[in-house]
């Protein structure tokens, strides 16, 4: 059954997702060019000093890209479901509402994770071309929270879009912005290192909290 839901979601988001993929590839291309340019304009040891010691972030252009990807995937996935309340069709399927909701989230998160992992992999490749492995590591630890912000944006988008009540939709949007903001603090590169594991907790909470608007959508009230 999850395969069927996967199939439906694939039909729904394949084209917009491909466009997002191209956007992310383009962005990584831009980061590769910008990083190379740093080394053209200055001696490599000076660039290393700036990036590895002074905290310059050579991939700063990526910071909000996962956030955008997360929001867009949530919109691609759930706006068609909310339009004319088509989500009722899925919720009437002979499986539990929780199963339906979590399957949808699983698909969306998979779509998002592919993009995020691709971003991180390409970022690693670009960084490894110019920097030592320490540079790759600090870059990944810097960029990983950005991708978690994207996951929060996706889950927050779902939390907001699936909520049938306008007042609560606004509240959920604020909650989503609040959670995403946790991952976008401007610290030193790599400063999130010790907290990353803990910062998965709000994402797990969000994922399960999404069942609440789904139940409210299903029954219009949660008694």
């Amino acid at each position: 059954m999850i395969a069927a839901i996967f199939r439906k979601e694939y039909y729904k988001i394949r084209w917009p997702w491909l466009i997002l993929l191209l956007f992310n590839l383009g962005l990584m291309g831009y980061i590769a060019i910008a990083t190379r340019r740093l080394f053209i304009l200055d001696h490599p040891e000076v660039v290393w000093y700036r990036v590895l010691h002074l905290g310059q972030i050579h991939c700063e252009a990526m910071m909000y890209a996962p956030l955008l990807s997360g929001i867009l995937i949530a919109c691609f996935q759930f706006l068609p479901e909310m339009w004319g309340e088509r989500f009722r069709l899925s919720l009437h399927l002979p499986v539990s509402p929780g199963y339906v909701a979590l399957s949808h989230l699983f698909v969306g998160l998979t779509a998002y994770t592919i993009l995020a992992c691709l971003d991180l992999a390409l970022l690693s490749a670009v960084t490894a071309r110019f920097f030592s492995r320490e540079g790759v590591m600090v870059t990944l630890v810097t960029a990983l929270p950005w991708t978690l912000a994207g996951a929060a944006a996706y889950l927050g988008g779902a939390l907001t879009l699936l909520e049938p009540n306008y007042r609560l939709r606004a509240v959920n949007l604020m909650l989503a912005a609040g959670v995403a903001g946790l991952y976008l603090n401007n610290g030193m590169p790599g400063s999130y290192g010790p907290s990353i594991a803990l910062l998965f907790l709000p994402l797990a909470l969000m994922m399960l909290a999404i069942l609440l608007p789904v139940l409210r959508f299903r029954y219009r009230r949660v008694g």
Binding site: G187, S191, R220
Partner: protein
């Protein structure tokens, strides 16, 4: 079915409000008050400080605090306020340029005369901020080893950086981003020959070219032995410092200074601070009672007569004045004005039973999630929230609230009240 999502949503709402509400409140109602500047005056032979005052300026200080910024007081340890110029005259080794302008140089203290050159020659400051200890910051463990004999006035960065692995000191060339096998071999061999045991526990140096000269790096090996490594004419120069391994050196804050008296400050595992001397790497303990490197910033202010160690956490500043032999002559403890409770801080405590902070703290460079508990005033706010919730339930909905929800509101105060209002059943 609905219990788990309800619980998660409620918890999420509590977490988010506990992060942002106190943060927004602080942004609106709090000014960041910098720490007090505390000094030992060789003139009055007592402490004197400059402080941004929280709340009204005392009457006796009012006449003195107008020249630059109102709300700043200059105060002696005996409790008297002084004007800014008097304050500076109390600290002639710091404000020697003004002393010169005011025609007060050379000055005579303790039977010795000091002119501008003498004052300048003996002045220096060493600092060890809690957040700058490498294990409290996201330091990239990949360092440059500067050429200590550059053959010119200006220092330059080498084309390579090194890392210390479990078995070697590995140099990576920045031009090619590949390992320089020859350098790696030479330096690894040099270290091993001196008895260095890999891996290193810490690598300590001042990694900048903006310094008068380079003293290389101090490496603490796996056995806590400290080695001094310099790159001289491209070749390694390794010295076993014989600093006792039992001290378990945690960090050495290297600070190259033309006086060439001390390499810097050495912090031991148990939080003791020593001056690391050029004289055979001898250690001079800095007598600072109650110093905690993980919470406090330390500053050592040297002048011709005294060295003052000033160290502070968020609320209390302490100082020890020492003579030239680093024997304490006087000490002082002062609760900084920034710690004074204000109406805004009391309302903060009342409103928020606790706060979650996600970000960099004053004492380290990592973005951390920290739980900041409230105080006894917060109990009032928690009780009020519980009463409000009870009232809303009974008056508005005609039924007593569920005990679990009431307990949640009582425990989490305003956050819980908001969260349970959001997930109130029946829409």
């Amino acid at each position: 079915m609905k219990r788990l999502p309800l619980f998660c949503y409620t918890l999420l709402a509590i977490l988010v409000t506990a992060v942002y509400l106190p943060m927004i409140y602080d942004k609106v109602f709090f000014k960041k008050i910098e720490k007090t500047h505390l000094f030992y005056s060789p003139v009055s032979q007592d402490f004197i400080f400059k402080e941004k005052l929280v709340g009204p300026v005392p009457e006796e200080a009012q006449g003195f605090a107008v020249d630059h910024h109102t709300g700043i007081a200059y105060k002696k340890a005996d409790g008297t306020y002084v004007p800014r110029i008097d304050f500076e005259k109390h600290l002639p080794f710091i404000f020697y340029k003004n002393m010169e302008i005011w025609g007060l140089l050379p000055l005579e203290l303790n039977g010795r005369a000091f002119d501008k050159a003498a004052i300048k020659a003996d002045r220096k400051v060493m600092e060890l901020k809690s957040r700058n200890i490498p294990d409290k910051a996201p330091v990239v463990k990949f360092w440059p080893l500067l050429e200590s004999n550059p053959g010119q006035a200006r220092l330059v960065f080498p084309e390579d950086r090194f890392r210390i692995t479990d078995t070697a000191m590995v140099f990576i060339n920045a031009d090619t981003n590949t390992q320089d096998k020859a350098l790696t071999e030479i330096y690894t061999r040099a270290l091993k020959d001196k008895g260095f045991r890999f891996p290193a526990r810490s690598v300590n140096g001042k990694f900048t070219v903006l310094k008068p000269f380079d003293e290389g790096v101090f490496l603490v090996d796996a056995d806590y032995r400290v080695f001094h490594l310099k790159r001289v004419n491209g070749m390694p120069q390794v010295v076993d410092t014989h600093i006792p391994a039992a001290l378990k050196t945690r960090h050495i804050k290297v600070s190259e200074n033309k006086q060439k008296e001390f390499y810097g400050l050495l912090l031991t595992q148990d939080g003791k601070v020593n001056l690391l001397s050029y004289d055979n790497y001898g250690l001079i303990p800095v007598p600072i009672q109650g110093y905690d490197p993980d919470r406090m910033d330390l500053k050592l202010i040297f002048n011709s007569l005294y060295t003052t160690a000033v160290y502070s956490d968020n609320t209390i500043i302490r100082a020890v004045a020492m003579d030239n032999t680093f024997t304490p002559v006087r000490s002082y403890v002062h609760t900084m004005s920034r710690a004074t409770p204000t109406t805004a801080s009391k309302i903060h405590d009342f409103l928020f039973p606790f706060a979650l902070k996600v970000g960099v703290r004053e004492t380290d460079e990592f973005t951390r999630v920290s739980f900041v508990p409230g105080n006894w005033i917060s109990l009032g706010g928690m009780a009020l929230c519980a009463v409000v919730f009870f009232g809303i339930s009974v008056l508005g909905r005609g039924r007593r609230p569920d005990a679990g929800r009431l307990a949640l509101v009582a425990l989490t105060g305003i956050y819980g009240l908001i969260a349970v209002s959001l997930v109130e059943p029946d829409h």
